[in-house]
């Protein structure tokens, strides 16, 4: 029994944390708010130098060939500092899908460039007025001379500005296919949308007969939905680590402020209304961390309970992040309500992730299915009836 990160993993965390502290943590995020893409690209280069982008890429594709658990401390630190960019989408969604379901050519094309931070991926899934459900994918792809012609609209696509490639679920003959589209492909029009979370840019993408080689399809033409869902397990395991990291920073902020700020002649952290609320945050945080460690472990070991473990981690970590980010403002009082203090950046990101790549509600159903509770006939085996 050893339910902890290894010494190496913790050491790697320290490198990443040190690097992010050197660039003043949320400065990258704040620069991005003001339209400075450069700082973000520099941070990506910096993270690449540390090895963050190579970790889970197989050695034959210029990576380090490490496991899912090795990504945990990285995502936690990225979350803590709210580093903008497509780290989760590239490392926890695109890379595993390509590695597991991509053609040899795709692996050779993309995995080394992910490892070298030359390729970054976003995902264009949602369509206007539609859902994250299978039926929500209506963007049409027509066969045309060995290619697919894509026609339709995707919306709320994050950070296209930072992406070299876009993963696009499309509809081909009533099946869902997953296509990799280069972000500068002809026929693709990007219209920026205003974003509630200013540290993530949003766009609407118009596909006007965008031509994509069938070589760009991940897996078979009818496998897109299954591959995407497999990829989402990896994504959500990574996301839950990210959320844990962000929440940890929040707890730290609240705790530090409560020890410094005085009212009525006492640090506010002496008042149980504040004191116990920070304890509640801490307890939720550690529970989210336990769930997220376990989620990543099930992913790494392909454990039979991986779906419910990963979905549980995502749900709980999301709820925890939303609650903690909101409570953090209340603990900070007036100053927490200002743009100047970082509190609000976490609140906004908490709502960004709330229903990102799948509604919370749908995730409930996914876990419930995995636990067999929709199969009414099947009884739970209890060792002994109480």
């Amino acid at each position: 029994m050893d339910f902890s990160l290894s010494q190496e993993q913790e050491m790697f965390r320290q490198y990443v944390r040190k690097y992010l502290q050197d660039v003043e943590t949320t400065k990258i995020a704040r620069d991005y708010i003001h339209g400075d893409i450069n700082t973000v690209q520099q941070s990506l280069a910096g993270l690449n130098e540390l090895g963050c982008t190579q970790l889970n890429i197989p050695e034959q594709y210029d990576g380090m060939g490490l496991g899912k658990l090795d990504l945990v401390p990285i995502f936690e630190e990225l979350g803590a500092a709210l580093v903008p960019g497509l780290h989760l989408e590239t490392l926890a969604l695109a890379a595993p899908m390509i590695e597991q379901f991509g053609s040899d050519e795709q692996k050779q094309t993309y995995l080394p460039s992910i490892a070298s931070a030359e390729a970054t991926f976003t995902i264009a899934w949602l369509e206007p007025g539609r859902s994250y459900k299978k039926q929500g994918i209506q963007l049409q792809a027509q066969h045309d001379a060995g290619s697919l012609l894509l026609q339709g609209v995707k919306t709320l696509v994050p950070d296209v500005e930072l992406a070299t490639h876009i993963i696009v679920p499309v509809r081909v003959n009533e099946q869902i296919a997953l296509v990799i589209v280069e972000s500068d492909t002809a026929g693709l029009t990007v219209s920026p949308l205003q974003s509630f979370d200013e540290t993530r840019k949003l766009s609407q993408l118009q596909f006007d007969n965008v031509r994509v080689s069938t070589n760009q399809v991940i897996g078979q033409l009818d496998e897109g939905w299954a591959i995407l869902n497999r990829g989402l397990l990896s994504f959500n395991a990574g996301l839950s680590s990210w959320l844990v990291g962000a929440t940890e920073r929040i707890v730290q902020m609240a705790n530090e402020y409560a020890q410094i700020r005085e009212q009525f002649g006492n640090p506010i952290g002496r008042f149980q209304a504040i004191k116990h609320r920070i304890v509640d945050m801490k307890l939720d945080l550690e529970t989210a961390r336990s769930l997220s460690y376990y989620a990543n472990w099930t992913l790494e070991t392909d454990a039979p309970d991986k779906v419910e473990a990963i979905v549980s981690a995502r749900i709980f970590a999301t709820q925890t992040f939303i609650r903690a980010a909101a409570d953090n403002i209340q603990i900070h009082g007036g100053i927490g309500f200002t743009e100047e203090i970082d509190c609000h950046l976490y609140v906004k990101r908490s709502r960004f992730f709330e229903n990102y790549l799948g509604d919370i509600d749908t995730y409930y159903d996914l876990a419930i299915d995995a636990l067999g509770w929709t199969d009414v006939a099947a009884p739970t085996a209890l060792p002994i009836t109480p």
Binding site: L126, G129, R130, S131, Y132, K133, Q135, G136, L156, L193, Q194, S195, F196, D197, R200, L202, E262, Q263, F264, G265, N266, R270, F271, A273, I274, A326, I329, Q330, G333, G334, G336, F337, T338, E339, E340, C343, H344, V347, R351, F352, E354, N355, Y356, D359, I360, D361
Partner: protein
């Protein structure tokens, strides 16, 4: 028990409603009017609106007739709030002047002060702000550190105020400063009617998490006030600040009526927003969450009416206002948080790209975080309720 309005009250409502329909800016009621965005123009627009209100005797209805008010009854004030919320009237730029400084001047101002200020407050010619909070005295008003030192016929004022609404528009400030060290923290405080248009006063904006600018920091570097600017007695400002704060409570009604309206808007949202052609309200769980909010927003309104009844009977507001304030602000926060959740991932848009134009939901969601902080945090309200209604022991540090 009787929820009916008297004929006189209904008459009052009709008169106000008619006046508003005739006097609101063109396009206001159908939503086509655009508020000026630039700050000076926005300020001027609000001043003009107040002048118009005052010309119709609608700026400060609770004031005595001799000062340009209507000697309105409490019920008429309630109706006034209801109607203003109904049309989402422009905010009162001189809120502090009309609802706090004006009544306080009438209560304890000298005849000269009354003469000098009251009419201009009403017309909006002089906008007021309120210099209470300081960086180290947020919830703890008695800890004020700004000093005023007597120098001949002048008072020299130094210090810093924060969370000063309307300071960027204001001509005068109702300022609290320490004039001597008393035995108890709330002794030795004096209230000044400070001229904002002087070199010793610097106003810096505070930008909120919703991107708006409602508050300011006010830096006082050898700012000057005169004998005539002292209201009440020197060193006896605590009593004056309490008098002023007592007048602030009438704002709760507006919040309660707004909450009603916001709840209706949420139901409308759930009806009109669809994913895959299914309206949100078609989901049973959405309806159940709406019902929880319905119950709470009704509860907030009915609590307010119940306290109002008591107020009507005893003739003055009671400490129950703390309960109303706590409840309505917490429920408002919950409502907007739910509104964001209900919209799913579509909620992450902003301004013109949001589901409701100008990101009504997102902005109000962010703004709602301030409501459980400003005007006394929820924690402070709870202490007040605990100690003054329930008789529980005083907290540490008090």
């Amino acid at each position: 028990m009787d929820f009916a309005y008297t004929q006189q009250e209904e008459q009052f409502r009709l008169e106000l409603r008619t006046w508003l329909e005739e006097n609101l800016p063109e396009g206001w009621l159908d939503g086509t009017f655009n508020m000026p965005e630039e700050q000076a123009a926005y300020g001027q627009f609000l001043r003009d609106w107040q002048r118009k209100l005052s010309e119709g005797n609608w700026a400060a209805i609770a004031w005595p007739k001799k000062h340009g008010g209507r000697d309105a009854t409490l019920m008429e004030e309630i109706i006034y709030h209801q109607e203003m919320v109904r049309v989402q009237a422009p905010p009162a730029i001189n809120y502090v002047g009309l609802h706090m400084v004006g009544p306080t001047l009438m209560q304890i101002g000298s005849p000269e002060q009354q003469e000098k200020y009251i009419a201009k407050i009403l017309s909006g010619e002089e906008v007021w702000c309120q210099g209470y909070s300081e960086p180290n005295a947020g919830s703890d008003l008695a800890a004020v550190q700004t000093t005023a030192v007597k120098d001949g016929d002048k008072w020299i004022i130094n210090g810093q105020k924060i969370w000063t609404s309307f300071a960027h528009f204001a001509d005068r400030c109702f300022l609290v400063a320490r004039t001597s060290k008393g035995e108890k923290k709330h002794h030795g405080i004096t209230c000044f009617l400070l001229d904002m248009n002087q070199p010793g006063v610097e106003v810096r904006p505070i930008i909120q998490m919703d991107g708006e600018h409602d508050f300011n920091e006010v830096y006082l570097n050898d700012a000057v006030a005169y004998e005539a600017d002292v209201i009440g007695n020197v060193d006896d400002g605590w009593r004056v600040t309490i008098a002023l704060l007592m007048h602030e409570r009438t704002g709760i009604g507006a919040q309660v009526f707004s909450l009603e309206q916001q709840f209706d808007a949420l139901v409308e949202l759930a009806r009109s927003v669809t994913t895959d052609d299914e309206a949100l309200i078609e989901q049973r769980e959405v309806r159940k969450r709406l019902l929880d909010l319905y119950i709470k927003s009704r509860g907030s309104l009915l609590n307010y009416y119940r306290n109002l009844t008591k107020q009507l009977k005893v003739g003055h507001p009671g400490v129950e206002g703390s309960m109303d304030k706590l409840f309505v602000s917490e429920v408002t926060k919950e409502l907007f948080s739910e509104a964001i959740s209900l919209q799913g991932h579509q909620a992450i848009t902003w301004k013109q790209d949001a589901i409701y134009g100008d990101s009504y939901w997102q902005k109000n969601y962010l703004y709602s975080f301030g409501q459980t902080i400003g005007g006394g945090t929820s924690e402070i309200q709870k202490n007040t309720i605990a100690e003054r209604i329930l008789g529980l022991p005083k907290d540490i540090g008090k």
